[in-house]
């Protein structure tokens, strides 16, 4: 099943298949390049937002200006904030049927296979964001009847103002970091998901993010609230065309999982190689809740992303599974953060990175246990595989333990594909490329087997495609 994951992953070869583009001549609105109070106010105005949200944005803009650009992680010095369009409206209204969508935009989603997956009933709901705004949205009727809300965040601000106001910016405050502040100032689109107490959504909700125009900045804002005992799996995918100048994707994702709730958030991102992908993702898990991040990072020029789980209630669990694949000219600085703020919480981070053709991948992770959080358990495993001498891998594990009564495990390994492994497989008729692919898929197997079957199959295909023609 899994929507168009096949289609998305097909793009990750050196010749990126999702590099196609449509004209932006038909767009109904395009903010001028650059960032100032006027542009921010204009975005708010275009959306007819309430005053509190406009103030939130303007305050965030100040914070963004004040905060220095991080000097750790990747090289951010080449981002030209004045060369970016912070808002583009591609269609004048949102469709509930694909027939309502302008033909140029619908064509894109057809090529990505999304309407088809929806027809086949493989997903419970779809949100499709094109540039700054969501152009299509749907949710299965029975879920609507149970009180599940799955809309774009702009709509949520209008239609569910109380819910949004209660949670918006509470998990990731404006001041959190420079890019969270940027997003808070110019955010547009993203998903708002609300699962009422006890409701279990059995098949995934899917969001799809597409950048089409050049010099476009995409700043979606996602907020997921899982009430007590409720359950949801949210999946997002991302692609963009290839342009000569860089684009910026800087999302904020906030998740609240209440007592006994479960949330799994799966990302398969496959950006073109000129996208800066600087995303802040954080969840708060209350008593006995489970939060899982499954994060597949492929493509982009630079990704800096460390999904976090704050375990704030007794017995809460956090899991982060991350795969990063850094190819030519790419830097994947990824990992995860687990913060144990309550007793008897447990967490696990499994990170696997692969570097080839001069790519660079880094694991950057934080494990923190606060004073008084007794009986916590955490296990961190990060493994890196380097496919050639030009490629690079680094590990930056940060561990802060303020409590004595904890069980902590940390393992890290870096390996190279061994000559003996290659020879052994080749002596059984596998070409060098096929043998490397098999070794790589074996390398990520401990993680892939955690995925639902259909995603596991896709992930393997993805690796196969990434490896094709990479050797010899």
């Amino acid at each position: 099943m899994s929507i168009d994951l096949t289609a998305q992953v097909r793009g990750i070869k050196d010749d990126y298949k999702y590099g196609f583009r449509e004209s932006d001549a038909h767009y109904t609105f395009k903010a001028r390049k650059g960032l100032d109070r006027e542009v921010v106010s204009q975005i708010s105005e275009m959306k007819n937002e309430p005053a509190w949200m406009r103030q939130f944005r303007l305050k965030a803009l100040e914070v963004f200006w004040q905060k220095p650009t991080p000097t750790w992680g990747g090289d951010l010095s080449e981002i030209h904030y004045d060369q970016i369009h912070y808002f583009m409206r591609a269609a004048d209204r949102q469709g509930q049927s694909w027939d309502d969508i302008p033909a140029e935009i619908k064509r894109t989603y057809d090529r990505l296979g999304i309407p088809e997956a929806e027809r086949k009933g493989l997903i419970a709901g779809v949100g499709a964001q094109y540039e700054s705004e969501v152009v299509y949205h749907s949710l299965r009727e029975d879920l609507q009847n149970k009180g599940v809300i799955f809309v774009d965040t702009d709509t949520a601000v209008r239609e569910y103002p109380d819910l949004v106001r209660e949670y918006f910016g509470t998990v990731i405050p404006i001041e959190d970091n420079k890019f969270a502040a940027l997003n808070s100032a110019v955010w547009s689109g993203g998903s708002f998901v609300y699962i009422p107490a006890g409701v279990k959504v059995d098949i995934p909700l899917q969001a799809y993010f597409r950048i089409n125009a050049e010099n476009m900045g995409q700043f979606e804002r996602t907020l997921i609230i899982v009430e007590e005992g409720a359950q949801v799996h949210y999946v997002e995918g991302c692609t963009a065309p290839i342009y000569t100048s860089e684009s910026l994707h800087s999302a904020v994702v906030e998740i609240i999982v209440k007592k006994g709730g479960r949330c799994r958030y799966t990302t398969i991102q496959n950006w073109a190689n000129n996208i800066y992908n600087l995303v802040t993702k954080r969840a708060v898990a209350y008593e006995d809740a489970l939060m899982e991040w499954v994060d597949g990072n492929l493509g982009s020029k630079l990704t800096m992303k460390y999904p976090a789980v704050h375990m704030r209630g007794k017995g809460a669990r956090g899991e982060i599974l991350s795969i990063a694949f850094a190819g030519k000219g790419q830097h994947q600085d990824a990992g995860g953060k687990v913060i144990h703020e309550a007793p008897y919480t447990s967490s696990r981070i499994i990170s696997k990175s692969i570097s080839k053709n001069g790519g660079r991948s880094s694991y950057r992770g934080l494990l923190k246990v606060v004073d008084g959080a007794k009986g916590c358990k955490s296990n961190v495993v990060c493994d890196a595989l380097i496919l050639d001498p030009e490629s690079r891998s680094d590990t930056y594990p940060y561990i802060e333990i303020e409590e004595a009564d904890v069980k902590i495990g940390h393992e890290a390994s870096v390996s190279k594909i061994g000559e003996e492994q290659l020879f052994y497989l080749m002596s059984r008729g596998l070409s060098e490329a096929e043998a490397s692919t098999l070794i790589v898929s074996g390398f990520i197997e401990p993680l892939v087997k955690e995925l639902p079957m259909e995603y596991a199959v896709e992930m393997n295909k993805l690796i196969q495609l990434q490896m094709e023609g990479s050797v010899g």
Partner: protein
Amino acid sequence: MNPQVLTIEGLRVGIEGKEILKGVDLTLRRGEVHALMGPNGSGKSTLSYALMGHPAYEVLGGSVKLDGEELLELEANERAKRGLFLAFQYPTAIPGVTLANFLRHAVTNIRNPDRLEGSDLIPMREFRKELKAAMDELGMEADFARRYLNEGFSGGEKKRAEVLQMSLIKPAFAILDETDSGLDIDAVRTVSEGVNRVVERERTGVLVITHYQRILNYIRPQFVHILFGGRIVESGGPELVERLEQEGYDWVRAKYPVEAAIEDELEAHASSASAPAV
């Protein structure tokens, strides 16, 4: 493709700049079983790796032909596709890759050598059936196929898995490199019976490399060769095995003093040259 003769002529092989094989001549025909014996460090494993095309082993001269086609220019996978198989002394672990998945790739490639890589694997159902039958013959439990290739396998499991691969790949010629080492007598018997079945069914030509005669009680060679100082110095029938068993290599040393000197020198070098780390 169904080659009938494997011809090794004047094969000279070095590793890390050191010449180990100094001109090996050997001819194997389909259905024949040859034993290659020799003391530790005589170059037996070097021969097996060089025949299969290990990149660390440098061919300094000579030829290896299958029905007249030169193999030495070919990569290991191409040699495999043409019908050559090596049962490793130290099979390498591939973490995360199940035996079943690996074998499905291997068998597909060898049976359909011209197929586009990565496409059209043998249908799962068909392959599973075949795999199960082959595992049954070797007395292997079905869930063994789901284990990661050679990872945490005992010595016996590794060798059994090698013979399992051989029985599914059905090679024209197989080199068994110290297949009996580290096995108890029951395991030697099981593994040998597996090899014999393949020989019988596929008329596989086999080169059994060993320095114990034990496995040769089960896999009966018609031809026996002694590799000593980088050359085959003696060839004969099963009586050679008996003689080595009774007298050891002293008579060989006495008869071939030049090779004995080389052998002494190689002995020191052997640990680094003959076997890759597991």
